[in-house]
């Protein structure tokens, strides 16, 4: 893609009678170096390492449809995650993993145990300090050219992240700040793969590290905006929060 763009730019800039040599794209840096720059850019992992859990609240809106909702996600050490959102007119959507069993519960899919690529997506989302460990969290990382036309005035370095199951995603970082700016991926779902593209922006310092506060996510025909509302560390978190809900119900019944 970059090579094609360079060629087009050269043709535009020069008379057609002058032989043109396409400018070769800059060689790609090793993915591990790109990810290491990102780790440094977002701050000291030690600052994050001192925490045991984090709860993140986001406002999610689809402006064209007058839709707004809030999503709260708690991630804790041990690969545990719990996410919940109440969608107006739709009901409660929850998903989680206690580090062993990944599950989801919503009005459409009901209560399910996640398997395969869906479980792998959840494992990645639940990994503590994953932003500093992308090279370990994914089965394989490799540098790639930006898969889309880079916006004017920007320069990106991109890395393809391959999961142990499911489709790979591509993460692109700004060449100057080394912060993540763009992601193209595929979310596994019960009905199949759902491709998405996310643009990250509004990076702010939180307890010694940088966190993006705005996401613009395009999923098929729908464009969503996500705004960070709250980030809270080390709240008391009951272990049952992350567990498959029917286990809780069964336990309560026995008691």
């Amino acid at each position: 893609m970059i090579a094609l763009l360079a060629l087009v730019a050269a043709i535009d800039a020069a008379p057609a009678v002058i032989p043109v040599t396409a400018v070769a794209p800059a060689p790609l840096r090793d993915a591990k170096l790109v990810l290491a720059d990102y780790s440094r850019a977002i701050g000291d992992q030690g600052a994050w390492k001192k925490h045991r859990s984090v709860r993140v609240k986001r406002e999610v809106s689809v402006k064209a449809m007058h839709f707004t909702s809030y999503e709260e996600t708690t991630i804790a050490r041990g690969g545990r995650i719990f996410s919940t959102s109440e969608m107006p007119g739709m009901g409660r959507f929850r998903r989680g993993s206690d580090g062993r069993v990944a599950w989801s519960e919503d009005p459409i899919g009901g209560l399910r145990v996640l398997k395969g690529a869906e479980a792998e997506d959840m494992r990645i989302a639940a990994t503590w300090n994953s932003e500093w460990r992308l090279g370990e969290v994914y089965a394989k990382v490799a540098s790639v050219a930006p898969p889309v036309v880079v916006p004017s005035g920007e320069s990106w370095e991109c890395v393809e992240l391959t999961k142990s199951q499911g489709q790979p995603s591509t993460l692109c970082f700004d060449n100057k700040t080394h912060l993540r700016v763009w992601e193209k991926g595929v979310q596994a779902s019960q009905g199949g793969d759902v491709p998405y593209v996310t643009r990250f922006s509004d990076w702010r310092g939180v307890d010694g590290v940088k966190v993006w506060h705005q996401e613009d996510v395009t999923v098929g025909p729908v464009t969503m905006e996500g705004h960070m509302v709250e980030i809270v560390f080390d709240e008391p978190v009951p272990a049952t929060l992350f567990a498959l809900p029917h286990k809780e119900k069964a336990k309560r019944k026995r008691e």
């Binding site: 064209a64 449809m65 007058h66 839709f67 107006p88 007119g89 739709m90 009901g91 009005p107 459409i108 899919g109 009901g110 209560l111 399910r112 145990v113 779902s189 019960q190 009905g191 199949g192 793969d193 759902v194 491709p195 098929g220 025909p221 729908v222 498959l244 809900p245 029917h246 119900k249």
Partner: protein, 421 residues
């Protein structure tokens, strides 16, 4: 800048946004090539120069209608639906000087009008409603609502199939009948002996609160649960995740616990709603993972997979689904999916064939657009859009049966429900 200029700018913004939305989001890329450019070249000057807003929206919808898709239309300030309320002569009951309201409120006098044997016919009257008090009965013919002849409805924005014409008449009649609670609407009707009568009906308050989800108009959810002998019957008017889904699931669970032999899902007149809601209803009726079909977006496809929830037992008895020309969209997805999976028998009339996934989005100037962003095919690859669901047992309602107090479709469904495998 005069008002003419402002109006022109608003029209330009609405037109461009609608045209772009189709180009960028319509699920069928093939429709939005050179022909779509030609459509803009033809309709843009006409629409911008329209003498009034109803004509502007009619031309815009005519352009969209050229694509031949359901779920594709634009409404906005000043379109025909709004303009009607400003036309006193249009809402004057025949033989009456009284002017009454026609609007978009949630009141209605309690009757369903359908095209049966080619004539607008009352197919259902809500007990104790204004219509019931006025003596209207199933099988009566309706000639006028609010002074409007049902034989002279405004033209459609695109050529319609016969089943779509019937679907449209049903919707138009419902629209004319609905309005602000307490307002009145006239009807002229022929009774069982074909004697003409005029009645002034009051739009009754809804039995429960209306729901407004996303940019859809307010909907009064209605779930009717009953049983005839050992057969449970569930009818609902719209696929709303809240509150309809929970009530339908609860009804199915109740019939399972009571050992019902069969469940009849009455989807007659149900125009759809949240497409994904076909999944959790089907999941209460299947014992293993069942694919209801494929939703094809512009660049990817997803299957509608119904899996029994871990915290609920599915109903394992017979399932019969009732359909008619008013069953659309999610109703068709659910009926087609369970029919093809051999999990349900479909009884009634062909459905309208309007099974596309859509979004409803705001355009500039207060206009609202519904855009089809996904097609639907059954697991065998049959597109329901433009074709409809073909019942296993086609049963047509007749005026004579309605006058005789019979629901021929339900009677046929009960036979299927009670038949031994």
């Amino acid at each position: 800048m005069g008002p003419g200029r402002v109006r022109l700018q608003i029209r330009q913004a609405i037109f461009t946004a609608a045209w772009n939305a189709v180009r960028d989001k319509d699920f069928d890329k093939a429709l939005t090539g050179p022909d779509w450019e030609a459509a803009r070249a033809k309709y843009q000057p006409l629409a911008l120069a329209a003498p009034d807003e109803p004509t502007f929206y009619r031309l815009l919808n005519e352009m969209l209608g050229g694509l031949g898709q359901s779920h594709l239309e634009v409404h906005g300030p000043g379109d025909e639906a709004e303009a009607r309320a400003d036309e006193p002569e249009a809402v004057r009951p025949p033989g009456s000087a009284e002017i009454i309201d026609v609007g978009t409120g949630v009141g209605d006098p309690g009757l369903v009008v359908r095209l049966i044997e080619g004539k607008p016919t009352v197919s259902w009257v809500r007990p104790e409603s204004s219509a019931a008090r006025a003596g209207l009965r199933p099988g009566y013919l309706i000639t006028h609502i609010g002074g409007r002849s049902l034989a002279a409805l405004p033209p459609s924005s695109r050529p319609l199939r016969p089943v779509e014409e019937r679907f449209r008449l049903r919707r138009q009649a419902a629209h004319l009948l609905s309005g602000p609670v307490g307002s009145r609407v006239s009807v002229r009707f022929l009774d069982g002996d074909d004697q003409t009568h005029d009645a002034m009906l009051t739009r009754d308050p809804p039995a429960r609160s209306a729901v407004q989800a996303l940019l859809m108009p307010p909907i009064v959810p209605e779930v009717r649960v009953s049983h005839i002998g050992n057969v449970g019957i569930i009818a609902f008017n719209f696929f709303l995740l809240q509150p309809v889904l929970g009530e339908v699931q609860k009804a199915i669970d109740g019939f399972r616990r009571s050992g019902a032999q069969a469940v009849i899902l009455d989807l007659r007149g149900n125009p759809g709603g949240f497409g994904g809601m076909a999944i959790p209803i089907a999941a209460r009726l299947v014992s293993r993972e069942t694919n209801l079909g494929t939703i094809q977006f512009r660049d990817f496809a997803n299957n509608l997979v119904a899996t029994p929830s871990l915290d609920a037992k599915p109903f394992s008895g017979k399932v019969v689904i009732l359909t008619d020309e008013g069953s659309a969209s999610t109703s068709e997805i659910l009926a087609a999916g369970l029919q093809e999976a051999k999990r349900a028998v479909v009884v009634g009339d062909n459905t309208v064939g309007a099974a596309l996934g859509s979004t409803i989005e705001e355009l500039p100037g207060g206009a609202v657009m519904q855009i089809p962003v996904a097609g639907f095919k059954t697991p065998r690859g049959i597109a329901i859009e433009g074709r409809g669901v073909q019942p296993d047992h086609r049963v047509l309602e007749t005026r004579a049966a309605l006058l005789g107090g019979h629901d021929a479709v339900l009677d046929a469904a009960l036979v299927q429900a009670r038949a031994v495998k």
